[in-house]
Subunit: 431 residues, 4 copies
């Protein structure tokens, strides 16, 4: 709620400023505006021009936006002469002050441009959504990668950990935020307000989100948690238990993170998730000392994709397994009948299918990279159409043990080592 008031406060500020500053701005071209923005000395006129650029941008058609980004890429670099001069000085005498000078002149002008744009009220919203557009163009026009790099560098600084605010999301949260939670849920769709309520109001359900003071009412990432007496073995056992009636906080032993959603496509690669889970674990430990197991109930999104791809350098036995599964019917009966086969395949997929030294599966990569370990596989745990299509219904419990995550993380980060629980050992196939 604290944050809510802060948002109100900022919101009013923004409204008032806009009213006072932005009367009668006749239209000029966006390039003229950019030029004006980089040339302005005055603070107030800078703010007005920044707002004009952002408003102008938002009304551009797709091609003009593309051109706008191309201009950023081509025209907002550094002055080659200054770079040469600074480098010559530095190469003669690599002192810290010569390095600083070099560092300043090599900073692409885009940085200053983005900073100036961000000085106008509510600009951060616009810039995050501008980058969302940019990401589309980058795919087809690699040169824009440089522009994106600059966004990433600035966003990483602005969205530093120290500025993120963890908020509980519950039935007392404002409708304005809840509406976004419904919209942004990316893993297990929230159908309507009643469905939302069943996820955040029962006493054995929790939801936490990160917010940032400059993005009013906008969650950055959120996680949904179920508090239970045992590790849940299927997603339906969570989504369909509306209960919590017989809840006694002292009896709960397990917190399951069953859905994590990033909300802002424009903040891609600015990572919040790893810290979110750790902070939530701490919050829950304080509130429920009886909870000792913190696990996820996670999908295996890339399993089927991996099955479909033939790989030359694969172990024989693994290729065999892949073939066997592909010949199965994807009926519930068949899935149930072939539980062992599927479980073994998924486990070996998680451990052996790689992208570089890390797992191919993005969800595995996220949690293992956070220092979690593979705790358990659950057959027929998600029998939705999507669940069957992705992973033949299998879901994974990743375990967050605060005692181990640092060590797990270091070994994973440096050597790619994946931790898993003792009992899973038998599933590992060996050639």
């Amino acid at each position: 709620m604290a944050f809510k008031r802060f948002q109100d406060f900022l919101g009013n500020l923004v409204k008032r400023q806009r009213k006072l500053f932005f009367a009668g701005n006749e239209k000029v071209s966006i390039n003229e505006l950019l030029e004006k923005l980089m040339g302005t000395v005055g603070e107030v006129s800078g703010i007005v021009t920044a707002r004009q650029v952002l408003d102008h941008y938002s009304e551009l058609d797709s091609e003009s936006k593309f051109n706008f980004f191309k201009t950023l890429e081509s025209d907002f670099n550094a002055e080659e002469g200054s770079v040469k001069e600074a480098y010559d000085n530095y190469s003669k005498n690599p002192s810290s002050s010569n390095l600083n000078l070099l560092s300043r002149v090599t900073e692409p002008k885009r940085h200053e441009l983005l900073r100036r744009l961000n000085s106008t009220p509510d600009a951060t919203h616009n810039l995050v959504s501008m980058r969302k557009d940019l990401l589309d163009y980058v795919k087809d026009y690699q040169k824009l990668k440089s522009v994106d790099d600059d966004f990433v560098r600035l966003f990483s600084s602005w969205f530093g950990r120290g500025f993120l605010v963890l908020q509980t999301i519950n039935w007392s949260t404002s409708a304005s935020i809840l509406e976004r939670i419904i919209r942004y849920e990316a893993v297990h769709e929230i159908k309507d307000w009643d469905d939302l309520r069943s996820r955040i109001e029962p006493r054995n359900r929790r939801c936490f989100a990160f917010f940032h003071p400059a993005l009013i009412d906008e969650p950055l990432i959120f996680v949904e948690v179920a508090l239970t007496k045992e590790i849940p073995k299927s997603i339906d056992s969570i989504l369909e238990d509306k209960g919590g009636e017989s809840f006694d906080p002292l009896e709960y032993t397990t917190a399951t993170f069953y859905s994590i959603s990033n909300c802002q496509p424009g903040l891609k690669n600015i990572s919040f998730g790893n810290f979110l889970i750790k902070q939530v674990v701490q919050e829950l430990q304080v509130e429920f000392p009886s909870i000792t197991k913190f696990v996820t109930l996670s999908p295996v999104p890339n399993f089927q994709g991996w099955l479909n791809k033939i790989s030359d350098d694969e172990e024989m036995k693994l290729s065999d397994l892949k073939q066997q599964i592909q010949q199965l019917d994807n009926t519930l009966e068949s899935i149930e009948a072939n539980g062992d086969l599927i479980e073994i395949s998924v486990f070996n997929y998680l451990l052996k299918a790689k992208k570089g030294k890390y797992p191919l599966d993005p969800v595995a990569r996220f949690h293992l990279g956070n220092g979690a370990s593979i705790y358990q596989l659950n057959r027929s745990a998600d029998l939705s159409e999507k669940g069957i299509r992705q992973s033949w219904g299998t879901m994974v419990n990743y375990l967050y043990d605060l005692n181990d995550i640092e060590e797990n993380h270091e070994r994973y980060a440096t050597e790619g080592v994946i931790e898993y629980s003792e009992k899973l050992k038998t599933l590992l196939i060996k050639n």
Copy 2:
């Protein structure tokens, strides 16, 4: 108040985290810690190490701190080889991506170090106070200027305008913040809590401050305002009017900014003041539509210093004036008797005594740089010992007219032009 709640929230978070993270840190040297911090992969261990560095630093003696900064200057630059390689690539092909690469490798490692330090709860406090120390060493050891540059670059980004929160300071503000207002008042000392109360509680007094979410309870800068029916001609008429009893908000026509104090020496050169005044002007316009004049009642701190200095290139008449004043007694009678002489001298000092193209007087520089103009000079306006010593009792009303400040600012910034009101023209001496 919004902000207060936000602070509470953050404060609790910080406390909890510290308890959870920071048990049993045995002492190692600060250099070992720095090395560890730059080497850590894990997030949690990074946070712990950062806290250890900051705690360790705060216990160092002065010489060790000096050495710490020297280490930052000498050991946290860039890899010369990488810089050379990146530059060679860039000089062959100055593409945006090559520039970006060059820009990255030329970024001094100090930046990354400071960012990592700032990832631990409450670190911003420590870093601001670290820079306060640093500023002392820079004076004697110019090489540390590079280190300070890096602080400035990072602080400018973290304390961007979008993150500053304007708060009203009044008798309902928390004692914790008020106590700092007493301590930080730099212009007209606040003697005790009663004195404070007389400045913030009466209905014709206002006080506004900027805060930042990462510096809990710490004002960055604040301004004290008197609402009156006429432009006040002396500081005592403000400080000694405890009244406001017969206050009718509809009758007030003038808001006088009579004291502006920067609170954080560690944020020197990160400018907040220019925007503070403009935002306060807007706040007051909304609340009191009848107020049309926004002025300061400002000291002239360097006038006497200028009198004492002989300058070769000065106009004859000016030198004459200086001499005449220096021969005066600084008794109240003498000051009153020589009002014309003093007023003319101060005015010409403001306009003609320069540091580069800008005024020598720092207060004049501040307000004129904000786009204000010189509105009026007030004789015998500050007859305190300090007021007489600095400027023979003279104070200045600078005028903030929102219609003109942009244009004033641009002309001042580019050409050093100083605006003053028509009626002052006669005071200007000409050779």
Copy 3:
């Protein structure tokens, strides 16, 4: 929001207290509990017993509840002996102290009982819902009227104007409260969350509610307002204008109260509505100085009922009118074609159909009793099935003119005088 925090605070208090106080209460009969409650000396045990009574009550079946109320009626009166004695003293010497004594002993014991029940956390909720039950039994068993009288006397004191808190309801309000707004809307049904949003989020829509600190998250009464440039002539022009896009707060001239809903059946006859509207008028005047007309758009719920009833003492011409209307088809065409006839009838109904000296129509009684006047009748203003059934589609604008409401109210309250605007005069039929 202020209130929200206050609610949070109280809510936590209640939860904590319950946990601490209410462990292991074995079941006893409700009459035993009542006896215990009236006999307890200790505060803590009193609180526990009160909670037990309330919990016990809520689990009773309908007959047992009836018996419970009968017990209240028969067993919680006064001691006749004491009354006689106090009266004898008083009749000999009607001093203020003898009156006070008499007043104390004649207070029904039910008062003390209700006060003791209300001392336990969250009891007010229970008591309000207890009275809701009671109102059902009163209909069939008039003796319980005495019990209800006692509820009314206590509720009037507890829900005094000084304790009511006006809150804006908007899209930032908590889902918990919004959900109740949907549920409690009694005039124009809110279909779902999207419908709700269209009533509270657009900039030309407002919603205000009264809350009470002891009824957490429970609105007592709320009013929905549309801000427009003209007085709206039909309810659809309000409910279907999702817009507000081209909103300029300076252009709006009219605030229309188009729906007022009492939320708590258990607070029947504790009046909040008259003050709500006046306070909202003031809020809106401050925010929108350009709004000068405050009107309702109200249904005429009893018109058809009045048509159906034959009354002997009616003016001839009025009876004629009634007959003519009853012979109409209630098709849209017919309603439109007979607009004059319907309008005249409704107007004369409002002015002449009486219950005592006041209007028969409850909505007219409410607004005229508040000091409003009849400003305008709108034909075909509510063509919903309900609108046609009640009043042949006619709606009324009652006008709240703060300059007149006091005088209007006094004349209405003392003499039953109904004010209406000049232009309606021609509609008045005279024999």
Copy 4:
């Protein structure tokens, strides 16, 4: 803080309403105003008249106030005729409805008057201060006791437990409230803001207060608490320990309530204290599970007064003791040398000096009446001038053991039994 916001909200409301309602009230006599107030039908005019009465009252001189109360006593009773009629009905048929009627007509008109006065914004402040005046007049003019009775009955209802809000007072509390804490401290004077800070900021100090939504910024009662490892034996060990530096919340075992102050003389006999302590005990138990002892460090204010009074029916040995003490010097040496004698006397005073069946000492009466027991006596525990004068420096630890307080309270309330700890038994003198 929640409450703070609520206060802000209410405060704004009040200000706005006053501005809107109260323009141009010409002066009339207070009796005319009272008449008008009782006669008004309209709500708004009632509110204005109420405000006029209250403002008029506050400007009366002492004699006029006295007359005002006399008028209340003589002219605002009941209509004797109506009372007779209602009583006759009741005596014929003592039904609940006849009782209710009788109860209504016997209610002194003062009740309705006070309720109407309280309907105007901020009236509760005025009424509380009105009663403060009244209490002065009651002493000399017993008839006014009836008027006071009416205040007490209404205040008891308005200040019911359900409306009291417990707030922590600390260094983040608003100066406006802290200033009142300084002013209202009644036991151990707070000298200035630094002294205040030393009582509320250290981590081993707490302060809690009750507030009421209708009395903005006004604490009703507050208690100061010290958290320690042992039961403190002297008040200086608390007041002079500014420390708390080496605080580890896990080590503390004892919470000592060393000062309880009622803030509102106008709320005399409306009891808050007993519940305050119990609620604070609960708050502390939740925050510090290691604290198991909740004691007071209390003065013995009436001991010396008792010594000075000769009582015929006293036990011989007790009279002896009294005489012995009275012959002592009140020098520190003498007090120390006669520690046993003083301790025995104080203990026997607490147990045997009575007012009715309860202890003569008001502090003992308060805590024992709450269900506390006498835990320990501390010699030379308050060697201030006041401490020596009152009780020869002795202070008492009363123990609040939540397991026993109910039973203690019941035995005390019904039989006057005083509980004390086993080890004190030897101090009891027997004839």
